[in-house]
Amino acid sequence: MQLTLWTYEGPPHIGAMRVATAMTGLHYVLHAPQGDTYADLLFTMIERRDARPPVTYTTFRAQDLGRDTAELFKQAVSAAYARFQPQAMIVGASCTAELIQDDPGGLAKALDLPIPVIPLELPAYQKKENWGASETFYRLVRGLAGAPGPRPAREPGRRPLCNILGPTALGFRHRDDLIEIHRLLDSLGIDVNVVAPLGASPADLARLKDADFNVVLYPETARSAAEYLKKSFGQPFTQEVPLGVGATNRFIAEVAALAGIDPAPLLDGPGSRLPWYSRSVDSTYLTAKRVFVFGDATHAIGIARMAARELGFTVVGLGTYGREFAREVRAEAVLHGIEALITDDYLDVEAAIRAAAPELVLGTQMERHVAKRLGIPCAVISAPIHVQDFPARYAPQMGFEGANVLFDTLVHPLMMGLEEHLLGMFREDPEFHDSVGPSHLGGNARSASSAEAPEVAASTAPSASAAPILLDEPVVITTAPWAPEAEKELKKIPFFVRGKARSNTEKFARERRLPLITLETLYDAKAHYGR
């Protein structure tokens, strides 16, 4: 039993719904109790979809448990088939129906409908949303792509043909990534055969095998299906996810190699504005900004790499809630000289952010709020999804335009270089003191963080009024007190590095068991950590 106050991922049947809702001509019959229908509003309210998800729920209740829930399920399948006339159906159980073991797959098969009916086994007590999406897409592809066999050779003169795999309903910027990648492929001279699941019908899945190769945009949802297509039809698939300029260039080269064409014209083209913006002297202040990255594995890895190599940030934290991709995230973290954080407990993430004392957090909506509490600038780079992640404007993350968007996304929350410089110069001026905070953050950032101060104290002591519920025992560390003149000197250090200066000095003093932090200690520590 795990105590959870908030969760990064929903249960696996939500992942199945993301696939079903992305597609056309497919219907999902979900054996689920009354109340599980809440899932509809994720799609209609967060993504603002204009139609209900193609899902029929059995919505059984206690009185049905005493009768025949299996019969109820069969009726729901029959009625859904009669009403919606789908090309194919998927059937499965949510967490509660899994416990009553009605075997939706077997029951649906017994109805002998004249369409493919694909059963889903999504263990709700072990797995989560992204796994559910991946498994559902894999089952659909396996069930509908046709008999495995060799691919016919490409006819001479035909443009190379690929599928794009991975985008789903309720996906983080999937809508716009897709437009951008379509554009890239088109300018390379590659045609797109099928995009799936987003916009594909079951009949389209039967055409997947016509493509020469697959472009996998979101390994979380599409890697299993791509591996199946590779094994069954000999279709290779892309490994590079085009987040950032470097990754987009590598993606273009990879795709061009798979298609047997020359990437040079596109690689030599105008590309992204990011490289010049990043070289522009006003960006100098971005150098070695300490950044903490957390999200799904694909976005966390891609954005950490971009932050380090294309903006000159220092990645001081990297993690994911997606355990399925822990290996990849760990490998990436090694490149940044840090250890990856693999957890789905947001309190662990909060503790790690506090400990790393970054100057910028790139995370999910949850990290945005953690950062707000800590007074650290933040940008959202990954699901779990929020209504703000469906902007009206075109805002891809992938490709060259995606790199432009990401430059703005990562840089705007930070104080502009000039503003930071002026703050340092006029630090003690009454109308320009450090508690004002960056003006573009509404002037609240610092006051929010000072209001947080008691909570910081509470979390290290077991008193806790409304303190976070930390399930691990707090480590009570005794830290030497600050001498008044050292404390005063600390206040002269710009606020955005003051937290780090304080924690470094205290760590320095602890390690040397100093009884008092003096002016000398402060500057000894500065010299020590400045090496």
């Binding site: 039993m1 105590l3 109340g35 899932a39 509003l41 979809r49 729901a76 009625a79």
Partner: protein
């Protein structure tokens, strides 16, 4: 191949007042009772709600509330995992461990509800025994339990189950006590305070609320207790109060000016308040409500409204719209129709109003599309799809989260229905 057989859905039922009552079975698009935690935890300020359930339960609460839980909330989910199900871990021991740590960390918590869910019900995890066991161990923290599961409860029935769990715990008032008035059902603090002022003007001094704002301030009850339901979905709570000797005052619900007057009147009669006193105490409120309602009557008068089932507030709301704003009712869906508690409301509905108890979602949507009402009151899952089909909608959940009861809120309540129409008229795109 077996021909698909659609399940039987609608049956016309026995006559009920002058309304045209239908009962329907099929897919229901409603929340489960866990959703009530979202407002209950705000009402009882030192209570914590621990759902014993699945990841779906946790996801529901953070999604359905329309908010992600960023502060330290006073609710959480103990997620049952495969170790608990396989018997590798003893679910009761696991629960004790989770609860013990929770309480250690949150000394501000005085009352803990273990909230049952669909999975905990199906695996027959006995939360009432767990609550007893933990109450003993964690004293003075009281541990109670109720079910908010979808198989047992529909949306607002979660509040009913929660309050019903509180009733046996309430102190007993001495048998010889003077009659006291109990208002039952979570109301916004501001609404409670308004009602207190009116009751005071009526000369009814001893007025208490269930739930109280703090666990230690729950009202005493006994044979001297007369209670008014402030919400129409409190069947189990009323039964539990009756068992403790309290007497329900039959009344309409305090929605709109007329409903509020009828509701206050029931208390006034039970406490022997003179007519002149009643008129004097309510005249100002009634006048203000009338002033506030008048502009909305122009906008809503003659409009055709369709209610999907959601909170059991549908019948009183429909009555308010029909009688005070001149709305024409196409269909009034409700998850459940409590004939006794809603007797006065049913009486007030225009003769022949179609009321549908239960739901068969797709059939009901067909009826709604065919009728093309001016305004459809429905849940969040249906609102945008219907808007996309050109129908104006009102999210029903807002009617639960917004203070709408009493004279001072009558205009606000009307405005909630008028706003979607006003917005549609404003937009040129």
């Amino acid at each position: 191949m077996n021909a698909p057989v659609p399940p039987p859905v609608t049956t016309s039922s026995a006559p009920c007042g002058g309304i045209d009552l239908h009962q329907e079975q099929g897919q229901r698009a409603v929340f489960c009772g866990l959703t009530g935690i979202v407002w209950l935890h705000r009402k009882i300020q030192d209570a914590f709600f621990l759902v014993v359930g699945s990841r779906t339960c946790a996801h529901l609460i953070q999604s359905a509330a329309g908010v992600m839980i960023f502060a330290e909330p006073r609710f959480a989910t103990a997620i049952i995992d495969e170790r608990d199900l396989a018997g590798i871990a003893d679910a009761n021991e696991e629960l004790d461990r989770v609860v013990t740590r929770l309480i250690e960390r949150r000394p501000d918590i005085k009352l803990l509800f273990l909230v049952g869910s669909c999975p905990s019900e199906v695996i027959k995890l006995d939360l009432s025994r767990a609550a007893q066991r933990l109450s003993g161990r964690l004293a003075p923290v009281r541990v109670l339990n109720y079910s908010g599961s979808g198989i047992e409860t529909t949306f607002t029935q979660g509040e009913d189950a929660c309050l019903a769990a509180l009733v046996p715990e309430l102190p007993r008032s001495p048998a010889e006590s003077a009659p006291s008035l109990l208002i039952v059902g979570a109301l916004a603090d501001v609404v409670e305070d308004q009602f207190l002022r009116i009751f005071s003007a009526l000369g009814i001094a001893d007025v208490r609320f269930l739930p109280a704002r703090r666990a230690g301030a729950m009202p005493a009850i006994g044979r001297n207790t007369r209670y008014l339901l402030a919400q129409p979905f409190l069947a189990d709570t009323a039964r539990a109060l009756d068992e403790r000797g309290a007497q329900r005052l039959a009344a309409p619900f305090p929605l709109g000016a007329e409903g509020t007057t009828g509701w206050l009147q029931a208390a006034a009669e039970a406490f022997g308040v003179a007519d002149e006193t009643f008129v004097a105490a309510t005249a100002a409120g009634r006048a203000r409500a009338e002033t506030a309602l008048a502009p909305h009557r122009e906008k809503l008068g003659g409009k055709r409204v369709f209610f999907f089932p959601d909170s059991q507030l549908e019948v009183p709301l429909a009555r308010f719209l029909a009688r005070e704003l001149g709305v024409s009712l196409v269909e009034v869906g409700t998850p459940y129709l409590h004939r006794a508690h809603l007797a006065a409301e049913i009486e007030w509905l225009p003769a022949g109003t179609r009321v549908t108890e239960g739901q068969s979602l797709d059939d009901q949507m067909d009826r709604c599309r065919a009728a093309r009402p001016d305004l459809t009151v429905c849940g969040l899952g249906l609102a945008n799809p219907l808007e996309a089909e050109g129908l104006s909608t009102k999210w029903s959940i807002e009617l639960l989260f917004t203070p709408v009861q009493g004279y001072e809120q009558a205009g606000d309540l009307a405005e909630l229905f008028a706003r979607p129409l006003r917005r549609r008229a404003l937009l040129e795109v």
